[in-house]
């Protein structure tokens, strides 16, 4: 840990601390995990851009069915490559201290597969398919489930969930905070 401490200046560390939900020690810990993904590139340049496959080697992301969406949403270039700052941003949102509304916002982005700022029926279908894994619900059950969801959540009847509707229902779900969390 002493080695990584000299990588960041004091100013950088305190900037990171103010702009994320981490303490300084946690930031250094996150950097250590980032470094283990590809030690050579990070040695050369601490702001190295690691491509998506390297990032997905992280055990916490490997088994996650939404890992490609997560890397896309948090990558500043939009193509899944992440620098350390993107990685830190991601871990900060998934940490314990991030407030609920930040998590809800990012969850909305992750589940919005076609990035049209609403979660439409197609997005829901994709989410459910990814959640069931190798097994798949048949079409009739899928339709029923999607209808149920829209019935519960869609307030203005446009067959899709806008952010306001999504936030409205997800804030009422007490398990959201516990499940939408990655600890390093």
């Amino acid at each position: 840990m002493g080695g990584s401490q000299s990588v960041f200046s004091e100013q950088e560390l305190s900037d990171y601390q103010e702009l994320t939900y981490f303490t300084k020690k946690e930031i250094l810990h996150v950097f250590k995990r980032f470094q283990t993904l590809d030690p050579d590139s990070v040695e050369r340049d601490k702001n190295a851009k690691l491509n998506r496959e390297t990032i997905l080697k992280l055990p916490e992301l490997q088994v996650n069915p939404f890992n490609d969406r997560i890397t896309t949403v948090f990558s500043s270039a939009g193509d899944g490559c992440m620098t350390f700052e993107d990685f830190l941003d991601m871990m900060s949102v998934f940490s314990d201290n991030a407030p609920k509304n930040v998590k809800v916002e990012y969850a909305f982005r992750i589940y919005d597969f076609d990035e049209d700022d609403v979660i439409s029926g197609k997005d829901l279908r994709e989410v459910i398919n990814r959640l069931t894994g190798e097994q798949a619900l048949n079409d009739e059950e899928m339709e029923q489930l999607i209808q149920n969801i829209l019935e519960e959540a869609d307030l203005d009847d446009d067959d899709s969930l806008s952010f306001a509707e999504f936030e409205h229902v997800i804030s009422k779900a007490p398990d959201f905070i516990n499940s939408f969390r990655i600890r390093l």
């Binding site: 103010e18 702009l19 994320t20 020690k25 916490e60 088994v63 996650n64 939404f66 500043s76 939009g78 700052e85 941003d89 998934f94 609920k100 509304n101 930040v102 809800v104 916002e105 589940y111 597969f113 076609d114 049209d116 700022d117 439409s120 197609k122 279908r125 994709e126 459910i128 959640l131 069931t132 894994g133 097994q135 619900l137 079409d139 059950e141 339709e143 489930l145 969801i149 519960e152 959540a153 307030l155 203005d156 009847d157 446009d158 067959d159 899709s160 806008s162 999504f166 936030e167 229902v169 997800i170 009422k172 779900a173 007490p174 398990d175 516990n178 499940s179 939408f180 969390r181 990655i182």
Partner: protein, 826 residues
Amino acid sequence: MAGYGNGYGPSGQGQDIPMQDRSHFNPAYRDDSLQRDRVAVDMEGIRMEERRGSDGSREYCPEGSTRRRWAATAEPRDTADLINALPSRQLEQIASGVAAKESIRRRKSSRRSIHGTLRAARGKDANEVADSFTRNDDYMDELDGEARTTETLRRMVLPMHDKLSIKRTTSETRKQMTLKRGQTHKKIGWWKRTKYSIGISWMHFKHRMAEFAYSLELWRSHMKKIEGHFGTGVTSYFLFLKWLFLLNIPVFTLTLGFVVVPQILYRYNIKVPSGYGFSVNETSVSFTGEELLTGGNWFNNTELYYGFYTDQVIEIPVNSTTSYNMKYAYLFTCGGYYILCLITLAISISQSYKMNYIEGSGTHTFYNVSRVFCGWDYNITDKAAARLKHKSFYNEMKEYLSGSKKKSHKKNMEERCKLLFLRVLTNLLILGSIAGLSYLVFWISGSGTLKGSVYILSDLALSLCVSAIFLVFPPIFSKIAQFEKYEEPKNELYINMIRTMLLKTCVLGILVYFWFTDTAKDKYSCWETAVGSEIYRLVLVDFFFILGATFFLEFLRRICGQYCCNKGNEEQEGQAMGPEFDIGRNTLDLIYSQALCWLGTFYSPLLSLVMMVKLFIIFYVKMVSVLQNCQPSLRPWRAAKSHTIFMGFLFFFFLMAMVAVAVGVIIIEPSKVCGPFRGEEKAYSIVTNLIDSWKGDLKVLHDIINFISSPGSIASILVALCVGTYYMRIVMIGHKEMVTLLRQQLHMEGRDKAYLLRMLQDVSQKKKEKLGPSNVNRLLSPTSNSTLEAGQRTAGRRVFARTAADTVATMAPGNTRMRNLNGVLR
């Protein structure tokens, strides 16, 4: 999957896409977070996707819903412009609304939803955002501005790189503005500067505390391993264990500091009572190993038990005027840690209840949404656990969807009567068995005739019997509950837990009653020590039973499962075979142990230390057992709601323990030959004597206390509390009705918005046809939007709507108004 969002290829021409292709895709709320060029290319990508997609997706939008597809006819670009021009998307308004609430002294994270701020940053680049910050005075304030900026930035959805650059830009601008301001205006007052520096140092202190707490955190790596394999359900048990362990630490330090250490020092200095190994009658008792099990004999004359403590007023040798009154110390320490536990528990349970029940309920339970969107536990890192989680989700959804179809089977009268009769019967059976077991316990503790040849066992008979009852009967109760055919498994779980708790409460109640009545006291000269040692034995035997249950139920079952039963199951190779970890039963065991500890700490001050050691060992044993033997459960465990219920049980047991000890202190007469309260009529009388002694010097205090404790004032306080509770309930009912009304209103507003936007779409469509394709897309571009924007900044929706309606009105009648159009808009 690969088709989504991957249309980031070379920017192409926007093309008119025929309407039916867009029937599934609602560009209504599209904003230009993607660049303008990419909009068209995405449409291509999605069109391609649709050709590949299944036919089922196109039937998704039913025919009769054309009113919902209001934007399907329009170019997405215009729609995006329209949406972006809405007041709710303007950064300045939202930012100023947030800034007013933030200041360096009130930086607790506001639970208010400020998603407007987060969302408004989409699609704008860093410079625009920085500009909007600099335009706002609150963010440019000399002292608070930095903090407010970083706080707002932290919550914004922007890449970190952008946030850093915005931060630097704004702080430079702020410095310049401060310099300029310093030359023209007077300086900031002294008071404001002091407040600011206090706020800064408080913030730094909090950061340092957070770092310190991070480095101290107990068992973090172990928790992470368990979380990775099992998810949040099993982890909640271990978190509860950790919480209990941490709760016992202040209790122990208080008793150590105020009661045990003075006693040791006193005995060391004055040698009264005499050292360990000598009983009250000066006969020597040596330490043999079996005392650890029975907690008697040698331990009777150590600090472990109440009886050993002196009742003297200890003179402190350093300064002869001050003295340490052991009686007050003992009683007030006891009161102190009970109050501490009470406050901690009350805060904890109220927070948990608020988070999980109040915010989580309301008029609707969003079952489907929360199952799907909170369905994946992001903590899981293990492949086998992930596979199980997928299967569990699939099973749950299948079960739910098939169950909702069968819901229409209503029971007729006969079935309902039968079920009612069955339930009454089982409840009677269970209550009867609880009563019978309580009587059994009473008889055993009373008779004491179970003396066998092995000396230890007769002492331990009661504890063994109690623990055996708690091991055997709750599973029997849950088997009985299966006959009652509850509709929801959740209800069955709760009923089982309530019955188990009832059993434990009754047994403990009977024991306490026995100890406090005359039948117990005649046998012993020092009954408090006897009670203390009995509780010690209960705690110890409970510990052994937990270890034994872990061994037998988890380890042996896994061995059996591996070697005996599953030789032919090839498809289950590679999966851990084993039992599931029973979270409910284990947590209830923990709650029972903690209740024993609370009951016994008054009579055995070092019991909290015993409890801490016990919890520590149980953590490691259970962790190893879970990781080696158990497999993750297929059924989902609702950790959040269950946590509230367990806290409720814990609180209930705490209140019972506190009441029991209070009865022992206030009503029961202490024994005459041992303990700090020997010779007093009641242990509580020292408090009354103390208050009476104030009659001379501190008459005011005496009178106040007398007044408060008089029946009249206590009754009036109770009445006031009841009125307050009733008021809260009325307010809650009012709020619920308000929520329903607001939902309806929201529904209507959504349709209003769709209607208005559709009108604007028509207008822009018509104008586009007239202006031709060359001048096609800047109808509502930002440069021509000044009227609209001005309206938004000052007023709200009404001005926007009126302006929009005016625009429509001028458009609608004729087609000769092209030239006037620009005039209107400018």
